[in-house]
């Protein structure tokens, strides 16, 4: 076994048994030795996870940035995306990645409808009302999924090789999700920065009243933005169905994590959400292997509360807004 020179003082004796069990740390005379390959493996995993989180959180962030509403049901949109991808794969024998454009288009339409029917009427209501409305949407979507598709965990397996780079293994499905997630995020960035639509969206995000005065159709941009955000949720769902199992409550996990990420990176900030995704991916992967998956979530939430309290503008601060 290849080992690094990183040593932990043996006299402390505070090394988790789990670390030893997974060969992350081996006991040698006079101390413990950390295995660098496993460290690298977890690092790679965390980066891949971060790419997937990016597409989830950027979708949520653009919705918050433009509509200024708290959408709690973003995870449920991802859940819908995963189910649509799952059923297209199972019923029509499609490759999950081929279903991606169909899922994206469907979620875009669902997003338009949700915005028109539920969100538009409460855009100027107190934030508490917006929050409760989207929380109610969670109840509705989760339980519709429960009635239609039961609580069973469902997954799709894609026959793809395990890529090995030296001693490190990369799952091809995760790599595709990472690349796809980053590509979708960059596409959105391009749209926001270079296209006419993007300029309008950014104008509404900065000041809806002024945008209205200079001739931007603000309600239409808001509806389109919600659709775009939902579309990114759908893309995320399609990319993740070969990796994670789907069940009706899977969304609440992703939805909460997306909130953690965008608060961490700064609400409304594109770059912030990207950086936040990798930080949360890093925390989850490392705490996950060191302690447990539940505690990985708990640590991410703890970091979230700390950021809310001490640095509410996010790690990049006020200036990082797109």
């Amino acid at each position: 076994m290849r080992s690094s020179t990183l040593k932990v003082d043996g006299s402390e004796g505070k090394v988790s048994e789990k670390l030893i069990k997974f060969n992350l740390i081996t006991e040698r005379s006079g101390g413990y030795v950390v295995d660098i390959t496993i460290f690298l493996q977890v690092l790679v995993n965390s980066i891949l996870l971060g790419g997937m989180y990016a597409v989830i959180s950027i979708g949520l962030n653009i919705i918050f940035g433009v509509l200024k509403i708290v959408n709690f049901a973003h995870g449920e949109l991802i859940m819908l995306g995963m189910y649509i991808s799952y059923w297209l794969t199972v019923l029509y024998g499609l490759n999950p990645y081929i279903t991606l454009p169909i899922v994206a288009a469907t979620l875009f339409l669902i997003g338009l409808v949700v915005e028109r029917v539920l969100i538009k009427p409460i855009l100027n209501a107190p934030s508490i009302n917006q929050l409760l409305t989207t929380a109610a949407l969670i109840l509705i979507l989760q339980n519709i999924a429960l009635i239609l598709w039961r609580a069973d965990y469902r997954g799709v397996s894609v026959k793809m090789p395990l890529i090995s780079i030296g001693p490190i293994f990369i799952s091809a499905t995760r790599l595709v999700a990472f690349i796809g997630g980053l590509a979708a995020s960059l596409c959105l960035y391009y749209i926001l920065m270079k296209t006419d639509l993007g300029i309008r969206i950014r104008a509404v995000a900065q000041d809806p009243e002024v945008a209205q005065i200079v001739g931007v159709n603000v309600p239409r941009i808001q509806t389109l933005t919600f659709g775009l955000g939902a579309m990114l949720a759908g893309i995320a769902g399609s990319l993740m169905i070969p990796i994670f199992m789907v069940n009706p409550t899977v969304g609440s996990n992703f939805g909460l994590i997306a909130w953690v990420i965008i608060v961490l990176g700064g609400l409304g900030s594109f770059t912030g959400a990207l950086i936040g995704s990798f930080i949360v991916g890093f925390i989850e992967a490392f705490v996950g292997i060191l302690i447990s998956l539940e505690m990985a979530r708990a640590v991410a939430f703890l970091a979230f509360i700390a950021i809310l309290l001490f640095k509410p503008a996010g790690i990049l601060g006020e200036k990082a807004r797109v």
Partner: protein
């Protein structure tokens, strides 16, 4: 406001007589169960409303205090042999103690509105994860069962459901009486809800009053969790700390009218029987159908009558009073 002053103790006494007399009518155990659930959710929503309704701090993490109350009762009963009737009262104190962990930093650093709500959700989620992780102590995701003991009020273990009904009715009435008497305190909280800066400028210590509202609210929520485990004899981290549990308290309170003391009771009177009925009749085929209806009702209520059912009653009453001269 006018409604608070007119609807106080003198309305609680006749209501108490009616509620205590209800089990005298012979009924199926299922109906008694419905009555217990209605009173339990009325009680929990009233407890939530102290913080969420009166002081306007929308917590969506009250399941944290509910869960701590339930688990604390289990530990006190099973590990330390403390009589359940005592743990029922003490378990709420653990919930209050835990609530300081989230409340003090949030109020100290002035976390408001949605940010406070997000922090409370995260707090409940952390507790859920920790309770799943510590499976040697908490039983993990499988949950915990209370062993069967001798019947009686000391052990809070009864064969007949009526006795549980009397316990939860008494708890709810006690909470209502306490809140009816806390006029000044409630007024301060409402002042904070309406405008924090103005409330601060007239000398109300915002942080202290919010924290007191949280302590009281979490205490009673914890006692509610304790009642839950003594009645059902089982709980798991998902029920105890889940977002669904928090949402149910909020929903009932908002539906009935979160700005009034009686809203939670009215909300539970309407929603809990619907929910329990659907759960029992459609539960086999359509699990969760009651939650879809809850969700739709919540959206409609927020859109068209944000002051809840009781708010409508208040408007009609005030119009009637003006017309009647």
């Amino acid at each position: 406001m006018s409604m608070f002053k007119s609807l106080n103790i003198k309305y609680i006494v006749p209501l108490a007589v009616i509620l205590y007399a209800l089990p005298l009518i012979p009924q199926q155990p299922y109906v008694t169960h419905l009555m217990i659930m209605t009173l339990m959710w009325a009680y929990l929503a009233t407890a939530w409303n102290i913080l969420g309704g009166f002081s306007g701090q929308l917590s969506l993490g009250h399941a944290a205090f509910f869960g701590i109350g339930a688990y604390a009762s289990y530990f006190l009963t099973v590990w330390y042999g403390i009589p359940p009737i005592v743990s029922l009262i003490v378990s709420g104190m653990f919930a209050s103690l835990i609530s300081i962990g989230i409340g003090y930093p949030c109020f100290r650093y002035g976390l408001r509105g949605v940010y406070f709500t997000l922090a409370t959700i995260a707090f409940a989620e952390i507790l859920k994860d920790v309770f799943i992780y510590l499976r040697d102590i908490t039983g993990g995701s499988l949950g915990i069962w209370l062993p069967v003991t001798h019947e009686g009020i000391v052990n809070l273990y009864f064969i007949s459901k009526e006795s549980y009904y009397y316990v939860i009715t008494s708890l709810w009435l006690l909470l209502m009486i306490i809140l009816s008497l806390a006029g000044r305190f409630k007024d301060y909280l409402i002042a904070i809800r309406e405008d924090e800066d103005v409330a601060a400028s007239i000398g109300i210590n915002i942080t202290r009053y919010k924290l007191m509202a949280l302590l009281i609210s979490s205490y009673f929520t914890g006692v509610g969790g304790s009642f839950y485990i003594y009645y059902f004899r089982y709980i798991n981290p998902y029920t105890a700390f889940g977002l669904d549990t928090s949402l149910q308290m909020v929903l009932i309170s908002v539906f009935g009218g979160m700005y009034s003391l009686w809203g939670s009771f009215i909300g539970s009177l309407v929603l809990t029987p619907i929910g329990e009925y659907l759960r029992i009749t459609l539960g086999g085929t359509y699990v969760g159908s009651h939650l879809i209806i809850y969700g739709v009702l919540l959206i409609i209520i927020i859109r068209f009558m944000p002051r809840g059912v009781f708010g409508i009653a208040e408007i009609i009453r005030s119009k009637y009073l003006i017309r009647g001269g």
